[in-house]
């Protein structure tokens, strides 16, 4: 009887120890991944003014068109007032209610066409590279999922 306990007890203790170590390992790994994930999207609250707003997903008149604040304000380093001094309102997607917010309007140099048109010729023209801005129904689903993930992390 005693012999049995001598054999079983160390085995039991050893397995418990293994389980404990594994559990600690996995939870700490999870913590670090959450930390790094959060850092990449969520910037220091003290520096709120430099935070890059989320991508805008337009769904009118077609599904869907993406505007990336990351690309324009961060990568290309345009200041906010380049677009937000009369051209686009601060509230996202208000421009969707304009009847000429479409490809024809853009070709005439309005809205995105202020830069993206062959008329004004600042950036690539909106009558080329369709799927660079038009990310479609598939792109909309992907982006919305991504934005939801970011919200959850915040």
């Amino acid at each position: 009887m005693n012999n049995k306990i001598i054999v079983v007890l160390p085995v039991l203790l050893l397995s418990l120890a293994v389980v404990f170590v594994l559990y600690r390992g996995s939870s700490s790994a999870e913590e670090t991944s959450v930390m790094t994930g959060a850092e990449s999207v969520y910037q220091d609250p003290g520096a709120a003014k430099s935070t890059i707003p989320q991508d805008i997903l337009y769904t009118r008149t077609v599904k869907s068109v993406v505007f990336s604040h990351q690309t324009h304000a961060s990568d290309l380093e345009y200041k906010c007032n380049v677009c937000h001094s009369g051209l686009f309102q601060m509230k996202a997607k208000t421009v969707e209610s304009q009847p000429d917010f479409n490809m024809k309007g853009l070709a005439e140099g309005k809205y995105c066409g202020t830069c993206h048109s062959s008329k004004n010729n600042v950036a690539f023209s909106s009558d080329t590279q369709c799927a660079r801005c038009h990310i479609g129904v598939k792109g909309l689903e992907k982006e919305e999922e991504q934005q939801l993930d970011q919200e959850v992390q915040r």
Partner: protein, 251 residues
Amino acid sequence: MNISSRIPDQPEPDKNGIIPEMERRQFLKLGLAITGIFAGGTLLSAASVVDQVFASRQEFADQYPYKPHYSMVIRQDNCIDCERCIEACAATNHVPEYGYRTRILEQVHTESANRRIEFIPVLCNQCNNPACVRACPTKATYKDQQNGIVRVDKEKCIGCKTCMSACPNNGRYYNEETKSVDKCDFCFETRLSKGETLTACAEACPAKVRIFGDLSDPQSEVYQRVHDIEKAVWVQRPETGVKPNVFYTKG
């Protein structure tokens, strides 16, 4: 070889029998002229596209086998995946949620210098040499003798799905309600037979990606585009030899 008959620019084959570079190039050029422009295995010149259309050389000689010979040209680069075509198709042809008659594929080119995503609309190719028709054990799926559209007789279909595995383009789905296989028929039942000239998807497209028409009419836009030597025109999976009537181009 007689020295006087030799072209001065081109060196004689050397003693080991190796063909010099210039001659090899000439030979390759000749090959291009015969087989058409070749890039990546799927691009074809106008001449070879026409060849893709027909089931045999004889049919080529006899002109287009159907009248009207319904066909679609897809301007691939203009597709923005708004999926209005899919919505219009589903509403017109009563396609259930789980099924499809047309879909949009997505291809991501990570190495691209500008746009990275390309959307590719796909539908039944209404092949001239359809693998599905040959596979069907009850002759439920057949090639319409008038217009070349590949159709399904719901009454004859036993739902064995052999046609679904035979189709190289995955253009068919099994409809649980009708207990038969359903597919794109260029809207023949719902629109063309009632006097409409366009399919629902072609009409709904805001970017004029889907151009539909009669390939046997030299005045039609599909004919003009398929026979345009200036532009690359290709078909899905030409290696299967099914001779599709849905063509792809850009611009």
